[in-house]
């Protein structure tokens, strides 16, 4: 990674961290219903998505705030998903090439493979990347996705963030083997990277994306990472994991590591404080825009069920409209 890109990575990782912290605060204040924090996973998320080109398609799970920031996804629309305003998020998924976030764990790996197969059929050199946790690899859909990708040589990057936990279940209980090694079983390479090392993540993802673009098929990347917080704001992780583990992870903060790396290469303190100011401003803008944002009206629940609503459904919509009166 060149110096500029490394600084850009840091800037976006910091932004993601500050948004993440803000989302947890907003949840405590009742502005969001629940939120799954990703602090600790910034290097894995930001550096990987920066390795792709804007035409590539991202398939995120629910814990991909850092990927969204790296992609330039509208944060208000992103956060509104966690206010219960719209399932899947209210950002522009086509413009950002960032699919609605998947909450059914593991279900979206196949969508990425299908999208990649489609791009290949069209002869486009675009790549799909799908983000999922180590828990998701246990789902049958994940194995089916690996297999389809291998057989069809789909241009897809499987980006697994192994943060050690699937809610309370430790990674050892998801698999008796190593996740990255599964690639070989399906006929494509698997690699394991330190998910706290932005440069290593960027290198691995770039290599995987290039391979896919050359028509050589998928790669499985397992990024070893940590989530500092609970599974979500509704979870109490003190019930199942030792504080020492979290403290060790925090001492190895990917943000701190990249900062040290940049500082050693001569980036001055003033640059870091500017980045911090910029993040603070962005966070206060997000807070304001969320406060101002209105949820879609209730009757919109009818509007995207079919391309054209069948008459019985249109009738139900008008019944709800009538019940709600001017509030509809």
């Amino acid at each position: 990674m060149d110096a500029d890109r490394l600084r850009e990575t840091y800037r976006l990782m910091l932004l993601a961290r500050r948004y993440d912290e803000e989302a947890v605060r907003l949840q405590r204040q009742g502005e969001l219903v629940a939120f799954p924090p990703m602090s600790g996973q910034e290097a894995a998320q930001v550096a990987s998505v920066l390795a792709l080109s804007p035409a590539d398609m991202v398939f995120p799970s629910y814990r991909e705030l850092g990927v969204a920031v790296g992609r330039g996804v509208d944060m208000t629309g992103y956060m509104l998903a966690f206010r219960g305003a719209w399932n899947g998020g209210l950002y522009d998924c086509r413009r950002n090439r960032f699919a609605p976030m998947a909450s059914s764990v593991g279900s979206h790996l196949l969508h990425a493979v299908g999208w990649a197969m489609g791009a290949r059929l069209d002869g486009r050199d675009e790549v799909a990347i799908v983000y999922f946790g180590e828990g998701a690899t246990s789902e049958g859909d994940a194995s089916e996705a690996f297999n389809f990708a291998g057989v069809f040589r789909a241009p897809v990057v499987f980006f697994c963030q192994n943060n050690g936990w699937a809610i309370s279940v430790p990674a050892e209980r998801q698999s008796a083997g190593e996740i990255w090694r599964r690639g070989e079983a399906f006929g494509f390479p698997g690699v394991r990277v330190d998910g706290g090392d932005a440069e290593a993540v960027f290198a691995a993802t770039s290599a995987a994306a290039e391979r896919a673009r050359r028509g050589e098929g998928p790669t499985l990347i397992e990024a070893l990472t940590h989530r500092f917080g609970p599974h979500s704001t509704a979870d109490d992780d003190t019930r199942y994991r030792e504080r020492a583990e979290v403290e060790t992870a925090r001492r190895n903060d990917p943000l701190g590591r990249l900062r040290a790396r940049l500082a050693a290469s001569g980036v001055p303190d003033s640059w870091f404080s500017d980045a911090e100011d910029e993040a603070r401003l962005a966070v206060s803008e997000l807070r304001a825009s969320l406060a101002a944002a209105e949820n879609p009206p209730a009757v919109e629940m009818f509007d995207f069920v079919y391309a054209a609503p069948p008459p019985a459904l249109a009738l139900q919509r008008s019944q709800l409209e009538e019940l709600l009166g001017p509030d509809a």
Partner: protein, 324 residues
């Protein structure tokens, strides 16, 4: 009698069954050390050990598939699927095998599997965490479908379901999880398959199950203030359906409103309505009415109360059967 929430009553039922029968197994995602995301299995792993209460990999089809095999090996599995919407990855095992194994083996194997499924909406849950799939399971021959409406019923029905030799999809109403009442922790000894008149009334009968029983009781209280007497029938089991109690209760009033959270089209109210047509036509004074969720995917949390049948919507339907 202790005051217990439904969560605590379910926990007591599981504890009772694990203690009473040493081939009972409890497993699923996060049910061990964490005690389940709703704490229904709290303390059970500590008490009965990791052999009998254990966490599985994150794979619903796997959970149900191994339950079938464990049942064949003579165990009594009580798996949990974390949320309604995540029973769908397991649909194949549920519909293709769990429901059919007794038949496929010409009766060689019992399938005493009780699949606990925190269900329905009303708690502001994220996507896929608020579904009402009861009619899918009721439509699948071989599965029994049981759904309690309060803590006492939760205890009784879960014990009865676990004792039952057939697969039971046990749908727990999340929105009633924390409601407390006095619970007798002595198994009633009744089999599943009986409906319960939770409130007697003479003008019309509200038929409901799970979370909508409480909603219907609210409706009945509101109607009482206007001098309208509404009965509330809690079906408790959709399969097998207690048709005798259903027909008698509705015949007494001649008017029925069936209420559920699931979408309207092909929802279980359609089945109830058809049974009434077939078995109580002569005593009906008005067409059976349905109040249900809309025919849309369960909406996001912020607008779910505009989706779930409200007291007002149910009262409007009551008005329709009274005015007919």
């Amino acid at each position: 009698m202790p005051e217990l929430s439904m969560v605590q009553a379910l926990n007591a039922a599981l504890r009772h069954c694990l203690a009473a029968h040493d081939r009972t197994l409890v497993f699923g995602q996060d049910v061990g050390r964490l005690g389940g995301v709703f704490r229904v299995t709290d303390g059970l792993q500590h008490e009965f050990g990791e052999r009998r209460v254990f966490d599985t990999p994150l794979a619903e089809s796997g959970i149900v598939g191994v339950a079938v095999g464990l049942a064949m090996a003579g165990w009594r599995p009580v798996p949990e699927i974390q949320f309604d919407g995540f029973s769908f990855p397991a649909l194949d095992q549920m519909l293709t095998n769990l429901a059919k194994y007794r038949g496929r083996s010409r009766g060689a194997y019992d399938m005493p599997v009780t699949l606990r499924l925190p269900s329905y909406g009303g708690i502001g849950g994220p996507e896929h965490h608020s579904e009402s799939p009861e009619s899918i399971y009721a439509h699948t021959a071989g599965l029994k479908v049981v759904t309690p409406s309060c803590a006492q019923e939760a205890f009784n029905l879960l014990v009865a379901a676990i004792r039952d030799p057939d697969p039971v999809i046990f749908m727990e109403p999340k929105s009633r999880y924390w409601a407390k009442e006095e619970v007798a922790l002595e198994p009633a000894g009744l089999p599943i398959g009986r409906a319960c008149v939770v409130r007697a009334g003479s003008d019309a009968t509200l038929v409901a199950w799970g979370p909508m029983v409480h909603r219907c009781l609210q409706v009945a209280s509101a109607a009482e203030e206007d001098g309208v007497s509404l009965g509330v029938l809690d079906l408790r089991c959709l399969v097998p359906l207690d048709e005798a109690t259903l027909l008698t209760s509705v015949a007494e009033t001649g008017r029925a409103v069936v209420v559920h959270e699931a979408p309207r089209t092909a929802g279980f109210a359609a089945e109830v309505s058809a049974r009434l047509m077939e078995g109580a036509f002569g005593s009906l004074k008005a067409p059976v009415q349905r109040v249900t969720g809309w025919d849309v995917p369960y909406p996001s949390g912020a607008v779910e109360q505009q989706y779930i049948p409200s007291v007002d919507r149910i009262l409007l339907a009551v008005q329709r059967v009274l005015d007919y």
